[in-house]
Symmetry: C2
Subunit: 427 residues, 2 copies
Amino acid sequence: MRTTINIGIIGFGTVGSGVYNLIKENFETIAIRSGVELKVRAICDLQLSHVRENAPDVFVTESWSDITSDPDIDIVAELIGGTEPALSIIKDALRKGKNVVTANKKLLAERGAEIFETVVETGNSIGFEAAVGGGIPCILTLKKGMVGNQIRSIVGILNGTTNYILTRMAEDALTFADSLKNAQTLGFAEADPTFDIEGVDAGHKIAILAMLSYGRSIPFELVPIEGIKNISPIDISYAKDVGYVIKLLGIAKLINGKLDIRVHPTMIPKGHPLASIRDEFNSVLFEGDMTGPVILNGKGAGSLPTASSVISDIVQLSSKRDYPGKFIGKAEVMAPEDRISRYYIRLYTEDSPGILSQISGVLGRNNISIASVIQKEVDEKFVPLIIVTHEARESDMLKCIDEIQSFSFVKERIVFIRVEDFKKGMK
Amino acid sequence: MRTTINIGIIGFGTVGSGVYNLIKENFETIAIRSGVELKVRAICDLQLSHVRENAPDVFVTESWSDITSDPDIDIVAELIGGTEPALSIIKDALRKGKNVVTANKKLLAERGAEIFETVVETGNSIGFEAAVGGGIPCILTLKKGMVGNQIRSIVGILNGTTNYILTRMAEDALTFADSLKNAQTLGFAEADPTFDIEGVDAGHKIAILAMLSYGRSIPFELVPIEGIKNISPIDISYAKDVGYVIKLLGIAKLINGKLDIRVHPTMIPKGHPLASIRDEFNSVLFEGDMTGPVILNGKGAGSLPTASSVISDIVQLSSKRDYPGKFIGKAEVMAPEDRISRYYIRLYTEDSPGILSQISGVLGRNNISIASVIQKEVDEKFVPLIIVTHEARESDMLKCIDEIQSFSFVKERIVFIRVEDFKKGMK
């Protein structure tokens, strides 16, 4: 049996519209997985006509109290950001018996204690997965996945804009100013990037993570924060010479009862997992006393990734118990022969002319094209020949291998390893 | 108000004893965070005296039905592994009104459909975070964090033993046999490593992830599985030449309604996030349609990491609602001056004798020792001098910088960047 949950969205900007679009797109997937049917019942935004154009089926209002006062709304999504009226909206919604979901990192970092008091006082709940790490489930990991751990430390790349700028400075040898301009052109930095560049955004996020990990409210004004404006290409280059990479990190650990919390550019060894987090990606490392390091990476911002976290909170606040789900049926497993992949093959052949042409002939006749060949000069009768192919059907590849294996100049069994480039979606 | 949850542990091996020890160690932390007091009420194991020695305060039995029939037990943790009697235990416990937590990947992969039928039929719940990825919360991420996403693909390094062996082969130029022996000596491989080496363990895990992601039962016997026995150092070396790394991957994606699922050694580009996962660490990449790639890394096995996942399930099955938690108080923020770190400084000085000795003199008098110095030969009057220090107190470092800045041979503002090695716990 499915439950319908009525949602009121306040703020129809990047995140708010993402939530609306995600629900439209994945309504059925969510219902199958969670037993919850999500319905956007009302949207509050000052740009009424913009909302009406993009969400024609929903009641629209300019007044947020229309949402918090609507008895049929179960969950209020506060997605306007900033301190006021966000704080009043959240408190009012909680007091009117609603659960709240927010992406407002500034408000949680600076006024979190006050909000959590209202949560305890009203007996309602607040979800804020979207406030840290965009689509990465780091709040869930801390609150639920690692609930059995004492958190020894948190280290994170928590701001995509600055990570993009630092990555481009390092890889394209750009100055800070050029890299920032570049990021703005590509939409990875705001027109006014002050909050990002100066580390305040990362500061808000590390404060929220520390608050959860150590069960203490954080006096945000005391958190030491340093941005990346003074990082110059020469330091990035010297860092590289000594095996380091410069990243803007948020760090928090409890040392003898005192909270060591800060944001600053940091040199980290190039083999460290955070060193390979590039461009606009975020990453957070929780060191648990039981788990050891647990690291989460993904897109730290953007309309749909952040909306995904809002939805995660909404579904969790909506489901009464662990939903067993239902199988659609038995999976039909694809036969290995039908798979498309790239392939690496290694064979030993005699070192004589014409052999490569015979082998590539077999591949060509089976529609397999060669991406690269290595044949090193060796003082031996038999030489290794390495071929990496472009994408091909596995059945074609296996047929070729059989055929090539049967040539009398091929010695030993041909070695065959699949190659995946993960070109789609990943970097 | 706190709730007490009574747990019955069946199987007191690596994971079972880890659960017992974790609760003993972090009882209060868990209660503060979740409102749940965990009590191990009974343990079932055939080695009675071994259990009594290590858990002297708990009722011990040889008979699992003592646990499933105990009306005071709320949650049964099935931690013996294998098919029987594990399957009977789980079904019996569910039918007797208990929630179940298990780490049994083989059972879930091969008989998952049957178990989930019993779950639906009884209205109780089963948690199995510990079955995949040890201490990494990948089930939680799939079920809750990414509930709003359609999963485009899953790619994972899901077996620590084989990843350890492949890493050592690549980095120490060992043969498969030597690397395996090495892994056995260090406890990263079992005496009988067949299940790991041949990819069956990774197969169980990718089957469980695919089952959850695609809502279909998986005919496990049809999953194509290939292990790492035939990987030779020469292929690892050729792969490196063309910019690839060889990893044992579990892969699952739905293509036109057919499930492409498999385990095999795979060449992946060396810049890919999974390529840098070394030794016994695991990693899984979920590609969501909304989030894009979400990657989780951590320890994929071991007593306490796996126990951490069992506890995560137990707490989730125990909490009726989102527990607000309570702040212990306001965090006392450590003053920047008190922090210990390593430091990078860059300064421009005149190129004349005695300067380095004056600068290192200042550092030495403030108890700061130098880790490395770079001074390149340049045809200019002013030359950059780079110093990286060992660990020092930030107040001492700042004092040195003031002092050095005041030397007349130092030009421009001294650049100062903190260096973190994360030596503790991380690799």
